[in-house]
């Protein structure tokens, strides 16, 4: 079962002078359309080119309370280069389900894509982008030098905060509120010498009787 061998044909090795290519009008000889799309694939007027503006969105995902679901969500966002401002997770009134709240900063198509990709994860039941009216809260613990306990307590009061730990050297204040409130509080506490800060990220629910989850599984 031996096979036929003929002398090696090395003649044209590295002799690339005879590349002919295919027949047809060259690129210069072809008609080319005027139209253009932007980087999001949306048709635009090239004269007034504009990229969509980045905005912040709060996404709330109802998910099965099972191991690894947070890793799936965060892995997805890292992999697809979505900008996450914050991510929180915790159980709901039904211990079978958890709620993930994500704050993302993206141009419009990116927010839409983040929502849809999140919805594709199997343990995810529904994803909602929260409205402007939604109740959004964040908690921060701010540890400052303990030199001015009275002033610190007064500032904490200004922000409806509470001193939750105090020693001769350091005082820890808890502030809960909107993202804006927390930012302001942090600025104000700077003067006392901030030692450490920790923040929870945004937790949010729709206001009034509006449901945050579009739907729950119909068991």
């Amino acid at each position: 079962m031996s096979s036929e061998h003929t002398p090696e044909n090395q003649a044209s090795r590295a002799e690339d002078t005879h590349r002919r290519g295919l027949k047809g009008p060259s690129p210069e000889e072809r008609p080319h359309p005027e139209g253009r799309r932007n980087s999001q694939g949306i048709r635009i007027d090239p004269e007034v080119e504009a990229e969509p503006e980045v905005r912040e969105a709060v996404l709330s995902a109802l998910v099965l309370n099972e191991p690894g679901v947070l890793a799936r969500a965060s892995g997805l966002f890292a992999r697809r280069q979505f900008n996450i401002e914050s991510l929180t997770v915790g159980t709901t009134q039904n211990e079978e389900y958890s709620r993930i709240t994500l704050v993302v900063k993206e141009p419009e198509p990116g927010i839409e894509q983040a929502k849809k990709q999140l919805e594709k994860l199997v343990p995810v039941i529904s994803v909602t982008e929260l409205t402007e009216d939604a109740v959004r809260r964040e908690l921060a613990l701010i540890k400052v030098d303990g030199d001015h306990p009275d002033q610190i307590a007064a500032v904490a009061d200004m922000y409806d905060g509470t001193v939750v730990d105090a020693s001769a050297e350091a005082i820890t204040v808890e502030v809960t509120g909107t993202n804006k409130t927390i930012e302001n509080a942090l600025d104000t506490f700077e003067r006392f010498g901030v030692r450490e800060i920790v923040r929870t990220g945004t937790a949010a629910l729709e206001a009034g009787a509006n449901a945050t989850a579009k739907h729950w599984p119909d068991d």
Partner: protein
């Protein structure tokens, strides 16, 4: 063939009816369904195998190993045909191709650690091409997970980014249901690979639970029909288009919608462009067909895509190899996008008319709403003119080495229309897709989105078994491979020989990583770093060493005879075609360039 009692850990061999001294070990015994039903589920592993049987699985591809042994032990009693591959990558590619040809999820198995990591390339490939694959991986016992035990890898973590979903089995009583769910999920909606990680203590544990039929997860409910109002609006847009183009992607084939899609195109006289995974969704010898568009697509397909005023895209994700620079992709066109995955709508290209649903059903919905066909006579004539202006021909002077395009055409002529073609990735793949006339779905089996060199040979093995199990033993399976691709998975030849699989491998051998060499010549001033072999094994003799048949072809006058003999040989054969090493793939759209600027030769890049 003798009856065999189900082995249990405490089984006393003397009670076994067939435990005669000197009994030959059983290998691949076919059992009747009645016998399968009589076999009780006793362990997690037998529950896993029962779940596969309940799902109608007829074949699995895998490699044995410590942590997966209980599952293999349960397979001993099953009629599922197991093909022992040489490498787990081969198992995942074979399962992928088997699934493509058969239209159902292919199944692969591997042990923990390196077995599981070796599957990753095939899973990533299936994920990118939306191919349904179920992978079952062994895992170290639950109480050792996290301890860096022997052959332990975080398979769930490693495979999460490259699977549709994966499962860590935590309970012998539910493991069968989990496997059934993973199988159902792989094939449902937008298909994709799923994986179940099986700790050894779970598969070894006792359970009597017979899992029911494969059921998808409760939280997974793909939308099958598009919104009726959206359909109406899209139908109006199609009626009013002057330069419509249908773009058929792989989703048309996956949805088994080729008949519906073809009828729609022909009834309404709309020219058809396919994507590369969409090859076979529309007969390439039809007047309306412009073949496929993109980086190495035809000139006429790229012209049509560039100048269309309405692109009706079905089951495609607008990959960058198709679009070229998005800024210049179909820049004059409104886009109708039919897809089962809502996340693909407006991901890369904005959809003016998004229609979420199953390809066949949505095309039917649109068709039902169409009051008249678009008036596209002039446009059709324009497309035909482009076909004449940019022919896919090539020069084949007799004083030069054999041209690869000639080899592909010679094979196409020597084989029937239902022949299955698999490929690796590179120049040979492009020639195989450009110069073969595809007419049927599931005859083009290749690696698209991931571009996996080495896909071709294990894919041919998977495709061969699928055709055989579908009763098409006479169907021809050809693997066009490159020398580089062949060197990556050629160990699977041992499997083809052992299983006596009738496949023909055509190595289009230029002794280069040819596509890289082509790019180096075009974009790196010909600095050929790590693209030329300078020495290549003799693949024909290598084939013979494996126990296959081998031929070597250096001249045009040897081509036809070698093809004839290889096709006639009932078993694996390899033809080593020493092709013109200087030949390049054209047309070519430079990466990120406008499709309309496709180059016909290097000086146009």
């Amino acid at each position: 063939m003798s009856e065999r009692a189900t082995p249990t850990p405490e089984a006393d061999d003397s009670t076994s009816e067939s435990a005669e001294a000197g009994e030959q070990p059983r290998t691949d015994e076919q059992r009747t369904e009645a016998e399968v039903e009589e076999r009780p589920v006793t362990t997690g592993a037998s529950s896993v195998v029962r779940a596969l049987e309940n799902a109608g699985v007829e074949a699995a591809f895998g490699v044995q190993g410590g942590a997966i042994m209980p599952v293999y032990d349960a397979l001993y009693d099953s009629s599922i045909r197991h093909v022992m591959m040489a490498h787990e990558q081969g198992a995942s590619h074979a399962a992928d191709a088997y699934g493509v040809v058969k239209g159902e999820p292919g199944v692969c198995l591997a042990t923990s650690g390196p077995g599981a990591t070796n599957l990753v390339t095939g899973l990533a490939d299936a994920n990118m091409d939306s191919d349904a694959v179920l992978a079952l991986t062994g895992q170290v016992p639950s109480d050792m997970v996290g301890s860096d035990a022997f052959q332990e890898t975080d398979t769930i973590g490693v495979t999460s980014p490259v699977t549709k979903h994966n499962y860590f089995a935590g309970d012998a009583d539910t493991v069968g249901d989990t496997v059934g769910e993973a199988f159902a999920l792989a094939g449902m909606g937008r298909p994709g690979p799923t994986l179940v990680d099986l700790p050894k203590d779970i598969t070894q544990a006792e359970t009597g639970r017979d899992p029911g039929p494969a059921r998808p997860p409760k939280t997974y409910n793909p939308q099958m029909e598009a919104d009726t109002q959206d359909v109406k609006v899209a139908a109006r847009a199609i009626e009013n288009a002057e330069k419509p183009v249908l773009l058929f992607g792989g989703g048309v084939i996956k949805a088994n919608a080729t008949e519906t899609a073809r009828k729609f195109a022909i009834d309404h006289g709309i020219p058809v462009v396919t994507t590369m995974p969409g090859i076979g969704s529309f007969p390439e010898d039809h007047d309306l067909c412009l073949s496929w568009a993109g980086m190495h697509g035809t000139g006429y397909a790229n012209m049509a895509i560039t100048h269309t005023d309405l692109l009706i895209a079905v089951g495609t994700r607008f990959d960058d190899r198709l679009t070229g620079g998005v800024d210049t992709f179909a820049p004059e066109a409104e886009v109708v996008h039919i897809d089962i995955d809502p996340a693909e709508i407006s991901k890369n290209v904005h959809a003016d008319y998004p229609l979420v649903g199953d390809a066949g059903r949505v095309i039917d919905q649109v068709d039902a709403r169409m009051e008249h066909s678009p008036d596209a006579r002039e446009w059709r004539e324009q497309c035909i003119q482009w076909k004449e202006e940019y022919p896919m021909d090539y020069a084949a002077p007799s004083d030069e080495p054999v041209k690869p395009q000639f080899v592909v055409e010679a094979f196409d002529e020597a084989t029937p229309d239902d022949t299955i073609v698999t490929t690796g990735v590179g120049q040979h793949q492009m020639w195989a897709s450009q110069y073969w006339t595809y007419r049927e779905p599931r005859t083009w089996v290749s690696s698209h989105g991931l571009g996996t060199m080495g896909y071709g040979l294990p894919a041919a093995i998977g495709a061969r078994l699928a055709a055989d199990q579908m009763g098409d033993e006479d169907r021809t399976v050809i693997c066009f491979d490159g020398d580089g691709s062949f060197l990556m998975t050629m160990q699977e030849l041992s499997v083809a020989v052992r299983e006596n699989m009738d496949i023909t491998v055509a190595v289009l051998n230029n002794e280069y990583i040819g596509m890289v060499r082509q790019w180096q010549d075009a974009f790196y001033e010909g600095r050929r770093m790590a693209a030329e072999y300078n020495w290549c094994p003799e693949f024909d003799r290598l084939a013979e060493a494996f126990g296959a048949r081998g031929w070597r072809v250096d001249d045009y006058d040897q081509v036809a005879e070698a093809i004839e003999e290889a096709l006639a040989y009932d078993g694996p054969s390899v033809i080593d075609f020493h092709i013109d090493p200087a030949e390049n793939v054209y047309p070519m759209v430079a990466s990120g360039a406008p499709n309309g600027l496709f180059a016909l030769s290097e000086d146009q890049l």
